[in-house]
Amino acid sequence: MDRRIYGVETEFGLIHRPASDQLPGRGLPPDELARYLFRPVVEFGRSSNIFIPNGSRLYLDVGSHPEYATAECDDLIDLIASDRAGEMIMHHLALAAEQRIAADGFTGQVYVLKNNVDSAGNSYGSHENYLIPRTTHFRRLSGILLPFLITRQIIAGAGRVVPGDEETPPHFAFSQRADHMWEGISSATTRSRPIINTRDEPHADAATHRRLHVIVGDSNMSSTTSLLRYGSTDLVLRMIEAGVPVGDFELENPIGAIRQISHDLTGQARVRIRGGEEMTAVQIQRGLLERIQRFVAEQGDHHEHVGQVLELWERALTAVETGEHHLIDTEIDWAIKKRLVDEVAAQRGLAMGHPRLEQLDMAYHDVHPERGLFHLLVRRRRAQEILTEAKVEEALITPPSTRAAVRGEFLSTARAFGAETTVDWVHHKLIDRPLEAVMVKDPFPVRDERVESLLDKLGDRSTQLRELSIQERSQRAVSLALSDKYALAAQAEPAEPPVI
C-alpha cells in the first residue's frame, strides 16, 4: 500500500512517590493512583475509556495502566506527533493528580513512565497497528515479518539496564520487551504474548483490509528512533505486499532468538535459520535492507522520509556491527541511553548493577518534560528531535487527516450542542438518534457526508457554534487535549468546575 493507516497504543507505567520526610516507603497503590490520574478524563467524558477531540483514545487498561491509542494516521510524522501528544496528556494528568493528592492531605510526585518493564519484571507494551490489504498471504507475511521484528530491536530498541541474577551478571540490553515475548504468532495478548497478534479487528472494511497488530516493540522516547521503527516496518510490508522475493530468514526458534539477540550488545549472537545456517541479527537486517534498497531504487520513494529511514537504518547496522555506537548515539534510543549510563557509571564510579543505573534507565522514560532524562538530553543536544513544539501542540487537539477527523468533528460538535454520543473507531452514534448511527468503514477520507447530515440535525453549526481559541481552551482544562473545540455562539459559557 502506498498510503497506509498506522496507529500505536502505548501503556504507561505509573507511580506515586511520597515526599521522603513523610510516609516512608510506598506511595498510593496503583489502582487508587490511576483513579486520581483519570479523574479529569472521567469529568470530561464521563468514563475512563473515551475518545477525545483529537480522534485518539484514552483509557485505563488491564492492571490500572493508563493507555493512549493514537488516532489513525497516514503519515509517519503525524503518528509520532500523536504518540508524543499522548505523553503530554499523561504529563498534564499527572500534574493535576499531584494537586488533587496534595489537596487530600498526601504529598509527593506522580511519575508516568513510557517504558515497558518494572522492577518486579511486569511488562506492558507499545502495540503497533498497520493496515494491510486482505489479499496479503498471511503465512508469507509472517515468515518474512517475524525475523525482521525479532532483529528490529538492534535498530529501534529502547535499551535496558538489566539487573543481574543467579545466572547472568547485570548488563545493558538492546530491548525492554524482548524477554517478555513468549510466542511468535497468536491471538492472545495477556496470556501468552506473541510478537504478531492475529486478532483480526480491521476497524475497516474486512473484505478488503486487515489490521496487523504487532506487540513486540519497545516504547520509544526518541522521535528519530520512532521514524526508523515505523518507517522500516512499513517498507518491509510494502515489499511483501508487492510480492517481491525477500529472502528466507525464518528462524528455527524465534523466542530463543529474540532474547539472545537482545542480550548481546556486540551484535555477534548467532541464531539459526530454519533448516539452514546461523546468522547474526546484523546479517539478517542487512539482508532485508539490501533488498529494500533495491526495491526503493526501482519503485521510488513513496513518502518524503524514505531516504532518511534508509540512511539511519544502514548507519545503525554499521554501529552495531563495528561497536562504534557513537554513530547513532543521538538518534537511536538504546544508544542514547547507553551513552548516558556509561558516562554516569564512569564518572561516578558505579559498577553495573548499581541501582542508580537502573534508576537512570527508568527516568529516561519519564514523560515529564523537565524531569524526564530523555527530554533533558534533547535540551543538551545529546538527543535529536524531529518534532517541533507546534506540531505536538497541534496533535493534542487536531485529528490527523484521516477518518480521525470525522470522529473528532463528530465528538466536538455533539459536545457543543450537549448531545450524548457513543463512538468507537468506526461507529458514530447520537444517543438520542440510535437508528441513525453511521458506520465509517473507510479509514482514509477526512469527511463523511452521512456524518455531516447527522450533525446537521443538531442545529446550524455555521451560526450557532463558535470555535474557541487555544487560549480559551487552555484556560478551561487540565490538558488542551481535554478541552472543547466549540462553544455555543450566543451563550455565555458556564465556568468550569474548579480543579479539585
Partner: protein
C-alpha cells in the same frame, strides 16, 4: 536528504581517525576540557531531578502486568 551529521564508520582496530580520537585519549586540550565540563554539568543536573535514594525508587516502581 541527509540532514544527519555524516559520521565515518570505522572498524575497531582501525586507528587512522585522528580527529575522532576523543575522550580519554587526548587529555588537556581545550575541546576535551570543555567536554568534561559539559558532562559534569549534565550529571549535576541529573542529580537534581532524580530522587536521591535510587534503590527505594527502583524497588518502589512495581506495576501490575499489562497486555
Amino acid at each position: 536528504m541527509s540532514a544527519q551529521p555524516q559520521k565515518q564508520p570505522n572498524r575497531p582496530g582501525g586507528e587512522e581517525t585522528p580527529e575522532s580520537a576523543d575522550s580519554g585519549q587526548v587529555k588537556g586540550n581545550p575541546q576535551s576540557a570543555e567536554r568534561a565540563q559539559e558532562l559534569d554539568s549534565l550529571l549535576d543536573e541529573i542529580d537534581t531531578v532524580l530522587e536521591a535514594n535510587a534503590e527505594e525508587f527502583v524497588k518502589g516502581f512495581v506495576q501490575k502486568g499489562g497486555q
